[in-house]
């Protein structure tokens, strides 16, 4: 079963996205910690798209889809933009360097990469799909 949610690109909608992911995962027997981490990864990726790719333009939308296949959760985030940023090429920075340089960014995509098992990016004429995979057998915790 595929669950999907489409919202305008505003930071205030991140909460709605989190509720949506939590609700989609609620039918599975998962630990609160695993649920929180998957919500966090989707939140981080959506925040990145909303803020950097869409500049919080509420006339533009992103869509989040969630499904489970063979004990693997598959999250898809769809958007239309020509942003050339490639998550797959993103190199995780050193945490000590982030602190020394007094930066308050750079940790979101670090979390996504550390939480998720696999990431795919598809681009097709301005339509982008970021697909995140997390294998988590039910009742494994």
């Amino acid at each position: 079963m595929m669950h999907s949610l489409q919202v305008p690109c505003t930071k205030e909608n991140l909460k709605e996205i989190r509720y949506f992911v939590e609700s989609a995962l609620s039918r599975y027997n998962l630990s609160a910690n695993d649920v929180n981490l998957m919500i966090l990864a989707i939140d981080e990726l959506c925040a990145n798209l909303i803020i950097h790719s869409h500049q919080c333009n509420q006339d533009e939308c992103i869509e989040v889809k969630v499904k489970n296949e063979n004990q693997t959760f598959i999250f898809e985030i769809h958007d239309q933009s020509n942003d050339s940023f490639n998550l797959l090429e993103y190199k995780i920075p050193d945490i000590q360097q982030i602190i020394t340089e007094k930066r308050n960014g750079s940790m979101g995509l670090m979390l996504v990469k550390r939480i998720m098992d696999d990431i795919e990016v598809e681009r097709n004429d301005g339509h982008n799909i970021c697909r995140l995979y997390k294998s988590l057998p039910e009742g494994s915790n």
Partner: protein
Amino acid sequence: MELKVSNEGKFHIIQVIGDLDASSSILLDNALEEAITTNTKSILIDCAELHYISSPGIGAFTSRLEECIEKNITMVLFGLNDKIVNVFRILGLDQLIMIKISKDDAKDHINDAQFTSALH
């Protein structure tokens, strides 16, 4: 998200209530900036009612750590639930940001650190 700021003796306390995400982290950032300018040497962050944190919220802390060190300010977080501690752990920040279980533990840590510092 809501912040409540109070003082208990020398301790400047910021209580964070709700979700700390990309839309609300600016409030914490402002509160930390204000706390640092009050010349306090002891900042406690009460996270007992913090339900969720994402990277902008964490960034509000990491971006102030160096400044705290430079100004000899001790910042301690306390009362974090397991989910939130785990997020700090994934980033390796549980080794770099002082996290304590209770307010008393946090105060004890600051008192000990300041006592040790005064001896040197």
